[in-house]
């Protein structure tokens, strides 16, 4: 026998001696915890119970938190309006109203879902169900290069990638955690849905539902593919062993749950929030300047953002997209929620009439390409801030941005050409 085994045995032997002299074990009937597990981890009930709980977690994280986010939004919109109405210098009014208050609102709307995600996670962790959830899902997740504990962060990605990526903190294994973070932006967050609804609704009428669903499925498929690839190519293909302790169930304490949620939420405020705020101001500047040319920030066509839109046009031309799509995608980099709104501004029609305006700028094939790009192309600014925080620097964040751009271009290209081949214009 080698020394590693010998000393492990020697240590346990020594422990046995010590405990033999100071501890007695009284046989106890089957514990409460074991009885719960008989149901919760049952061969047939295990998965339904798991899915029900996951549904509840998702609802709690995004539906229950929504009114709080709305309140934040309303508050900062009001601040913004107030600033614009009271400050006489229009450029300063725009800076304070749209830039600063707009930026603050943009950053702080993430606070409620983050806090709620962490409360839900703390409850799962403290009750002891989190490791059971991993136990139930591990098999399925290892098939796609992830592991049991990746499931919850991936699921939360459908709501918003920011709290989802922060939720990977429950994954102890560094490589597993990195991979889960890196593919998370491929889970289609709720901010991308309006883009799908618009384009699918206009160009695929009857089949809109199917087209939208396939965007979500495409995201999942690509996440699985990339996770497998990353594990093989970037991390040397070594699967990390899963040795997960299954602690007895306990009743969580309110204080414990709140402390844990608060402590983790504070990390977001302290770290990511500053990066995001600066980014928000930068984007405000690009879309409203040069001040004269944009006539005080109202003619987007003449802004630096439009310059960028035109600059990317040659790149996206082969996908059937023009510079208006370029500006919308650039704006989407700030937050995917504003892609539709930006198109409205660019076409000068307002958000309600975008539908009729896009008909002349897109075809069914290029609309599909646009949806695919929106799904994949770039993590939004907030996600980039979180990626940097959780991946520990710009190196891996840059990697994520780069692979997503390339992937978006490739997949959109395939979809566009595929459409042409089967005769969809």
């Amino acid at each position: 026998m080698d020394f590693a085994a010998q000393i492990a045995m020697a240590r346990y032997e020594r422990i046995g001696e010590i405990l033999g002299r100071c501890m007695e074990r009284v046989e106890k009937p089957e514990s409460f915890s074991d009885m719960i597990d008989k149901v919760v981890l049952d061969r047939y009930l295990g998965i339904p119970v798991f899915l029900t709980l996951m549904w509840a977690v998702f609802q709690f994280a995004f539906s229950v938190s929504a009114p709080f986010s709305d309140a934040v939004d309303v508050f900062f919109s009001a601040c913004s309006d107030w600033a614009k109405n009271t400050i006489t210098d229009p450029q300063l009014a725009s800076l304070i109203g749209d830039g600063i208050f707009g930026g603050l609102g943009f950053v702080l709307v993430f606070l409620p879902p983050i806090a709620f995600v962490f409360m839900a996670l703390a409850v799962l962790e403290d009750t002891g169900y989190l490791s059971r959830a991993a136990f139930v899902m591990d098999r399925a997740m290892t098939k796609v290069g992830l592991q049991g504990k990746s499931f919850i962060p991936m699921l939360l990605g459908f709501g918003c990638n920011v709290p989802a990526i922060m939720a990977t903190r429950t994954i102890e294994n560094e490589i597993d955690r990195k991979i889960t973070i890196m593919v998370n932006p491929l889970m289609s967050c709720s901010a991308r849905l309006p883009v799908y609804i618009l384009f699918a609704g206009v160009f695929f009428e009857k089949y809109a539902g199917a087209v939208i669903t396939s965007m979500y499925l495409l995201g999942i498929l690509l996440a699985a593919l990339m996770a497998t690839l990353f594990r093989k190519l970037v991390f040397g293909g070594k699967p990390s062993p899963l040795l997960l302790e299954m602690p007895p169930y306990t009743v969580p304490t309110l204080r414990g749950v709140f402390t844990s949620a608060w402590v983790r939420t504070r990390v977001f405020l302290k770290k990511a929030a500053t990066v995001l705020f600066i980014g928000a101001i930068a984007i405000w500047f690009l879309s409203t300047h040069p001040w004269q040319a944009t006539e005080g920030g109202s003619v987007v066509e003449n802004s630096y953002a439009a310059v960028i839109g035109h600059a990317v046009e040659p790149l996206i031309r082969p996908l059937g997209l023009d510079w208006t799509a370029g500006i919308a995608l650039f704006a989407g980099f700030m937050a995917k929620e504003i892609v539709v709104g930006t198109l409205g501004i660019v076409y000068g029609v307002g958000e309600e009439n975008v539908a009729s305006a896009i008909v002349s700028h897109f075809t069914p094939a290029s609309a599909l390409a646009m949806m695919v790009i929106t799904l994949i192309y770039l993590p939004c600014l907030a996600t980039i801030g979180i990626l940097r925080q959780e991946l520990g620097g710009w190196k891996w964040t840059g990697f994520v941005v780069a692979y997503e751009l390339v992937l978006a271009y490739m997949v959109a290209g395939i979809v566009f050409l595929g459409c042409k081949l089967v005769g969809v214009a």
């Binding site: 346990y12 047939y44 991993a134 136990f135 591990d138 699967p239 062993p241 602690p247």
Partner: protein, 74 residues
Amino acid sequence: MKLSEVEPGSVVVIADVHGNPEVRKKLLDMGLIKGAEVKVVRNAPLKDPMEIEVKGYNLSIRKVEAEKVLVVER
């Protein structure tokens, strides 16, 4: 016999632990040492991983790792 093949409900004794040094060390650290009693509690709903009881606590272990643990009847 491999630990991965043991039916839920049975109690067995570890005879040897193989595997690459890193994984093996990990298993040893978690108490999967020669002579230790292990109870197989259940398999996950998707058959893998499995839950075992060792050294007075419950541990989830994947079948690939459990294959590296050789056990004998008590």
